[in-house]
Subunit: 229 residues, 2 copies
């Protein structure tokens, strides 16, 4: 279970965008601690995340927003300066591995000044999005988007299997080979055959695309056999 917690957000557009992002990346709960902006205006920016925003839980302290969580993760654009143990950070992809089926809260601070040290201290882990060293400060909702995307990848992402059938693979091999045999001059030419076959088999995404490639190769072959009629 994932909960996004915004601490004293100041901008309507950010709150609206974050509600939309919660919908895009299937976040279960949105909590807002002491909003400093008009949540009704924020609705304008939430598109199909309106319901998320309407059912957001507004509380008056960060403690209240976090007390039933298994894992509390704060976020900051200031991280990993020497000697500062509090701000030693994890990256979004490292954090995404920790979520599992726990009740996890992601805490994002104010647009202007982020989270205080005391607030960070209340959490278990601090997350930092690596970016340009000269300017790593992301806008609030864009930081939320990147973190949610990265966690969603790990949580929901069904790994994409290669789904080209054996039959289609065989046909591609057959036609590439037949074409190759029609044009080969010597043994050195075999490199061409291997290159084309492998590139196609590596590059084809699914059965549908594979069949379109087969049609192409078959037509080329027929045309070659029957000449330029």
């Amino acid at each position: 279970m994932l909960r996004v917690i915004l601490v004293e957000p100041e901008g309507e557009y950010n709150v609206g965008f974050i509600a939309r992002l919660c919908r895009n990346f299937e976040v279960e709960e949105l909590y807002i601690v002491n909003p400093r902006c008009d949540l009704n205006k924020a609705l304008e920016f939430s598109a199909k995340g309106q319901d998320v925003l309407k059912s957001a839980v507004v509380v008056s302290s960060l403690y209240e927003a976090m007390r039933d969580l298994d894992l509390k993760i704060s976020t900051s654009s200031i991280a990993d300066s020497k000697g500062d143990m509090l701000r030693k950070s994890m990256s979004p992809w490292e954090v995404s591995q920790l979520v599992g089926d726990r009740k996890v809260g992601l805490v994002f601070g104010r647009e202007s000044v982020g989270l205080t040290r005391d607030e960070i201290l209340m959490t278990d882990i601090m997350l930092h999005i690596p970016a340009n060293k000269e300017y790593p400060v992301l806008n609030l909702s864009h930081a939320v988007g990147i973190v949610l995307y990265e966690i969603w990848k790990t949580r929901g992402a069904t790994p994409r299997k290669s789904v080209v059938s054996r039959e289609t693979t065989d046909l591609i091999e057959k036609y590439v080979k037949t074409l190759y045999e029609a044009i080969r001059r010597g043994d050195g030419d075999e490199a061409m055959y291997i290159a084309v076959k492998r590139s196609l088999l590596r590059g084809i995404k699914d059965e549908e695309e594979g069949r379109a490639v087969v049609r192409f190769l078959r037509k080329i072959y027929m045309r070659m056999i029957h000449g330029n009629e």
Copy 2:
């Protein structure tokens, strides 16, 4: 070299946020095709990305924004529906592997209607950010943020060598197109062309393999023209 290309953006805040994101993730160039909003107002949202926005190149056609690029990548929230060869997509983490040291353009469409099919057809690859199947439509600048973050991770981490040269990519496109034109019967046949071109561009591993594919295609073409002598 990375270029972000916005096609007819409609919202000042999105353009401003994108300029900021370009700075956050060290994008070299921002191009804007026919802006539908006030770029001066956009400055308000760009924070320390102001210089990026001030030096953005405004052009009047997508062609103009892309003509000197090695690899053109379109983006869409509509992807991978059955039968639609044009919208077979790659994920941000797959695309991030293709960048290397090539001149790459990332093309993002209008907030309201995205990119047209013709615009997508002008590009080499289509990228889609996987998200909630019921609502995968991200706000424009948040989509940009996620893609730039993912590419930055790969660029910053392990600088990959350029896989295939511009010249070789162009030759592959040229020969696949010429062969396609020799065998096409109707508009429905275009799917074959798209499938073969994309599978090859995706699958080819390096320059050497790319050149072998070019030799193969050239020989097939010569043989087809001169018939079965």
